[in-house]
Amino acid sequence: MAAESELIIKNGVVFDPINGVKGEQMDLFIRGGKIVEAVSNPKVIDAEGRVVMPGGVDIHAHIAGGKVNSGRLMRPEDGRKGLVPKTKVCRCQSGYSVPNTFATGYRYAMMGYTFVMEAAMPPLAARHTHEEIIDIPILDNAAMPLIDNNWMTLEYIKSGDIDLLAAYIAWMIKATKGYGVKVVNPGGTEAWAWGKNCNLHDAVPTFDVTPAEIVKGLAEATEKYEMPHSIHVHPNMLGHPGNFEVTKATYDLVKGIRPYRDRPTMHATHTQFHSYGGSTWGDFESQAKSIAEYINVNDHMSIDIGSIILGDTTTMTADGPMEYDLYQITGRKWTNCDVELETGSGITPFLYSGKSPVNTIQWAIGQELALLVKDPWKVALTTDHPNAGPFIGYPIIISMLMSKKRRDELAAEVHKAIYDRSELPSIDREYDLNEIAIITRGMAAKTLGLSEHGKGHLGIGADADIAIYDMTPEERDAGKIQKAFLNTKYTIKAGEIVVKDGEVVATPEGRTIFVTPECDQTLMDEMLVTLEDRFDKYYSVTFNNYPVQDHYLPHPYEIKAPWRS
C-alpha cells in the first residue's frame, strides 16, 4: 500500500490488553501502516460492533525450514488433504498438518494472525529457514536458533566460561539472523547422535556436562545482554510418563537469575508434553495441576500450552530420541537428521485419538494448563504446530476455553479416562475475550519483547496489524465463536486489508525480525580462535560460507541487544 494511505475502523469493540482496553467501542486510525491519533482522508471500515483485536502473535510454531520441509516431503498423503487452486491473488495451496509456505501465510492471516515465531532453526541450515520465510506471505516472522547441544556450548559450560559462551551466542544469533536462544532436550540431542538420551542430571557422553548445567549456563549467558526474549526451553524427557518432576526441576534452575527487564528468565514451551504423571502409559495421568500451581506461585516463568488437536498430524522436533520413541510405538514412517556439532531432528506422523485413554488425557492437559494458570499473562495459546496439532485448530481451543458447555459435550465423546485421570471436567472457569486476546496476542508480544516494536497491541505508533472477527462481544455460542476465529471479517497487516470476509485479498511480503546481541570485540576474538579451529577440524562447511547472507532477509527489522552494564 502507499506508505501514507489512511484507514479508519469505526464502531469496533476493541480488546487491546497491553493498553488495558477491555472491549471498548472505539475507532482506530491508521496511516502509513501504523496506528495514529487522527487521519484526514481515510478509507472507512465500519466494524458494526464486531470484536476487534491486535493481529495475533504466535510465540511457538514450526512453519519453515529443513525439518518442516522434510515433513512435507515425507507426507504427500498430508499434502493432498489441503489442495486449493491458485487464484488471482493466491498461489497454490497444499497440506493440512504440514501446509506449503503459501497456505501457511494465508491460513494464519485468515485467523487474524500477523506474526509467527519459527521455534527451531538448526544453525547450519539457517539459510533454508530464511528461504522459506521469504515465501511465507503476509506474516512477519522471526526464528530461534538451537544453541543448546552445540559442542562450543558444551565446552564453555564445562569450563565455566559464561562470558565466552555469551560471545558464542552472540556470534550464532548474528550468523543465523536469529531472534533468541532455543533449547531443545539439552544434552539429550548430542547423546542421540550415538543413539542415547539424557535426563536432567545425566552426563552428556564425551562432554561430561549435565542438561541442568547447560540450561543454567545458557540462561546466565543470555541475560548478559538486553535480549528481548529469555531462553526458550523444551525441557528434557518430553512425552515421557512422570516427566512433570523433571519439568519443575528445570524451571527451578533459573530461579536466581536476574532478567534484564521485567520479563521471565525462562519461557517453557509446549508444556502439555511436559506435564505427565504416572510411571508407564498404563498408569499415565495428568499433572497439569502441579505445573500450574508452580507457575502460579513463581514469577520467573512463562509457558505456552501446546494443546492437542484430535486427529492426524506430523510431529517434528530437534528432540531426536523422542521422535524415535514415538516411531517405535506407531511403526509409521520416521525421518531423522542429526546436524553436525549442533543439533538434530526427528519427524514422524501421529494420530491423536479420542478413543485412546493416553491421547485423551494429553488432550485434556493443554486445556487444564490454560484454565488452571490464574494469570493469563503467563500462558500463551499454542499447539506446538504441528506437533500437538495444526495451527488451524486454534479456534477449537479458543471455543473450549470460552465455553464450559462445549468442554462437557466433548468430554462425553472422548475416552472416560478424562474423568478420573485429569482435572478438566471439574474446572468451571471460562475465558472472556480479554483473556483470549492476552493468550493469543498480548502475552506473546510482551514475552518475546515485541510489544516495544509495535506488535501485539493497538497503541499509538503500533503496527496497524488488526483482526476484526465476525462476532459481537456478547456471543456465547461455541460453534459461532470457533467459526469467527477461523475466518476473520477483516485482517489488516501494516495498514493493508489482506483478508476480507474470510478470503485473502492481498498478499504483501512480511518482515523478518532479528536480534543483534552486541558483544565486546576482545571477548568475541578470543571465542573465534576456538570456533575457527572447530570449523577447520570438524564442520563440513567453511567458516566463511556459514553465516546467512543479507540476501536472505529482503525485509529485515533489526533489534539491537546491548551488553548489560
Binding site: 515425507m74 504427500p76 498423503e77 498430508d78 499434502g79
Partner: protein, 260 residues
C-alpha cells in the same frame, strides 16, 4: 435402465501429442437425472483447460433411470489416453470398450466397472467397494495406495483376466483380488488384510506383509525372509504354507502365503 454412451471423438487423440482427458466428473451418480444437453455441458479436464463433455465425446442417451443404480455409462472410442474412468463411482455401472488410461476405478466405492481391454497403472487405487473387472492386463500399482499412504484397497472385488504389473495391491487392507495370469514383482507388498489369488506365476509376493493372505498357483520366486509352517491342502491342491514377512520382525509377521 438408462444407458449413456460417451464416444471419444477421434480428433481428440489424433494429434502429435496425446494429451489425456480426465473423466472423473462422469460417473453414474454424477450424471443421473441430467438431460443430454446437461451432460454435454459437464466440464471435464483436457490438459490444463476444462472443456465441455459434448465437445470431446459424442453423447447418446437411451432409456430412463429411476435412480443412479439404473444408470449405465458406456465409454467408446480410443480410450488409451482417457484417465480416471469411474474414479470415485458409488453406484450404477460403467463399461469401457477399449484399453483405458490410468486411475480407472480409483477410489471406487460401489457399482460395477468393466474394462473390455487392458487398464493402465493405478486401476482400483484405494478402492473401497464395488466390483472391478479388467478383461485384459492390469499394469502396475493395481489397487495400490496413493503415494505416502499406508492403506491401499480396503474393500470390493477385482478380477483381472490377463497379467498384473508390479506392486499389485500395495498396502492392501481388505477386499479380494483374482489375477488369472501372472503377477510381476512384489504383489501384495506391505499387505495387511484381504486376499490375493494369483493363478499364474509371481515374483517376490508378500514382501513386508503383516497380514492378509496370498495364494500363488503357478511358480513363485520366494522372498528369503518367510518361515515355512506346514504343507496344506486347499480345495484339493497341495500348497506350502509360509508365514511372513520376518524382515518386519516376529511380532508383525502375520501374513500368510500359499505357494506350490
Amino acid at each position: 435402465m438408462q444407458t449413456i454412451t460417451l464416444k471419444l471423438k477421434d480428433a481428440i487423440v489424433s494429434g502429435v501429442a496425446k494429451v489425456p482427458v480426465e473423466v472423473d466428473a462422469l460417473t453414474p451418480d454424477q450424471l443421473f437425472g441430467k438431460s443430454e444437453a446437461e451432460i454435454k455441458a459437464v466440464k471435464v479436464w483436457w490438459g490444463n483447460r476444462q472443456e465441455q463433455t459434448g465437445d470431446l465425446f459424442e453423447v447418446r442417451l437411451a432409456g430412463d433411470a429411476a435412480s443412479a443404480e439404473d444408470v449405465k455409462l458406456v465409454f467408446e472410442g480410443d480410450l488409451r489416453r482417457v484417465k480416471r474412468i469411474g474414479e470415485g463411482m458409488k453406484v450404477g455401472e460403467i463399461e469401457a470398450r477399449s484399453d483405458v488410461d490410468m486411475h480407472c476405478g480409483a477410489m471406487m466405492e460401489g457399482g460395477k466397472l468393466v474394462v473390455k481391454g487392458s487398464a493402465n497403472c493405478w486401476a482400483g487405487r484405494e478402492m473401497r467397494g464395488g466390483e472391478l473387472v479388467i478383461e485384459g492386463d492390469a499394469e502396475d500399482n493395481l489397487c495400490a495406495m496413493y503415494r505416502g499412504e499406508m492403506t491401499g484397497m480396503t474393500g470390493g472385488k477385482v478380477t483381472v483376466y490377463g497379467n498384473a504389473g508390479e506392486l499389485t495391491a500395495q498396502y492392501m487392507a481388505g477386499g479380494e483380488i483374482l489375477i488369472k495370469g501372472n503377477a510381476n514383482m512384489l504383489a501384495g507388498l506391505n499387505m495387511k488384510g484381504g486376499k490375493i489369488t494369483i493363478e499364474g506365476d509371481a515374483k517376490w509376493p508378500g514382501a513386508d506383509m503383516t497380514g492378509g493372505e496370498i495364494m500363488v498357483k503357478g511358480a513363485t520366486a520366494m522372498m528369503p525372509s518367510f518361515k515355512f509352517v506346514e504343507t496344506a491342502t486347499v480345495d484339493g491342491a497341495e500348497y506350502k504354507k509360509y508365514l511372513g514377512d520376518l524382515a518386519m520382525g516376529e511380532r508383525k509377521a502375520k501374513g500368510t502365503l500359499y505357494v506350490r
